[in-house]
């Protein structure tokens, strides 16, 4: 669930055991979005999606922040 990831706490300090590339823990969504929304090869697709690059980041972060604030204010998602 997004909520657990977004509210992840506690020291995951320098998780320095690479152990042959095993995932150490479930990846935090925010770290993934840092990369997926701003990284990767940008090539024109066939769909006229203008929500790319900066626009996409803004759109998605708005979604994230809205969710976090909703949770903080005690509202439950259906």
């Amino acid at each position: 669930m997004a909520a657990l990831l977004l509210h992840r706490r506690g020291p995951v300090t320098a998780a320095l055991d690479t152990g042959g590339g095993r995932p150490l823990e479930r990846i935090a969504l925010v770290d993934l979005l840092d990369r997926l929304l701003a990284g990767g090869v940008v090539i024109a697709g066939d769909l006229v999606i203008s929500v790319s690059g900066v626009d996409l980041v803004r759109v998605s972060l708005r979604a994230l922040i809205t969710t976090v604030l909703d949770e903080a204010s005690g509202e439950e998602a259906p």
Partner: protein
């Protein structure tokens, strides 16, 4: 821009482009549960799966990208596909939600963009991305001073100025530490990139993120890099490091700019 039907048709979702990928290593399942397949062209393999336009068409995509649960599921699946391919062969991840009409169009793009993909794959082959975030504990409140009731307006203002200076100093020190830390880590990397600091509401942390960076490492320099990060962690009081990786090279697609 091609007009794409949205009436129950399908399209093709592109995850990334690999070179010398053993077809047996093709990642299994893509977004919406569809199997991932390889589209070969120009000596490259595009990793794709079929999507329905009612979910991935333009209007649907625009709405879905606003839906956190949908975005998370898509991002995690996209990442899983790219990551499995990247473990098997040099792989250039493509920006999330890049959609084509059909496999033929994907093959066309591989051919027309082949030079660019070759350049990217040359740069990332034998390398992985590592993320390092550093957090500084907030400066502790000053214990030694202000009386509960300032004796005068002037004393109150002075106290406030002192507090502002103290915070500014602490901020500067954190920024300096982050700069030093980054220089040290970048030293062992082929390239580095700064990501914007993550909003505290997203990271769920109350301390201040003073560094959010990615480093592209040669495979045989990873241990060394991690040891350097560990030494920095041991040395820098009040700074907490968080290292993630290995990542496919999402942050190192563009050359130095």
């Amino acid at each position: 821009m091609t007009e794409v039907r949205t009436d129950g048709g399908t399209a093709v979702y592109l995850y990334g482009v690999a070179r010398d990928l053993d077809p047996a290593a093709l990642p299994g399942t893509g977004v919406a549960g569809a199997p991932v397949r390889g589209v070969p062209a120009a000596g490259l393999t595009a990793l794709v799966s079929t999507v329905r336009l009612e979910e991935y068409g333009e209007a649907a995509l625009r709405a879905n990208l606003e839906d956190l649960a949908w975005l998370e599921a898509t991002a995690r699946t996209h990442h899983a596909v790219v990551e499995r391919a990247a473990r098997a062969a040099p792989t250039a991840p493509v920006r999330i939600a890049t959609i084509y009409s059909d496999d033929d169009r994907v093959a066309e793009v591989l051919t027309s963009e082949g030079g660019r993909f070759a350049e990217i794959l040359d740069r990332v082959a034998g390398r992985t991305e590592w993320g390092v975030k550093a957090y500084a504990a907030p400066a502790p409140a000053v214990q030694d001073a202000p009386p509960a009731e300032p004796s005068s307006g002037t004393a109150y203002l002075r106290g406030r100025q002192r507090e502002q200076r103290r915070r500014a100093d602490a901020g500067r020190r954190s920024a300096e530490l982050a700069g030093e830390l980054h220089a040290e880590l970048a030293d062992g990397a082929v390239a580095s990139r700064h990501h914007p600091a993550q909003d505290a509401r997203l990271s769920g942390r109350t301390d201040v993120q003073v560094l959010n960076a990615a480093y592209l490492l040669d495979d045989d320099r990873v241990e060394e890099f991690l040891a350097a990060a560990q030494r920095a962690q041991d040395r820098l009081a009040g700074i907490e490091l968080e290292v993630t990786g290995p990542w496919p090279p999402y942050s190192f697609i563009e050359g130095d700019r």
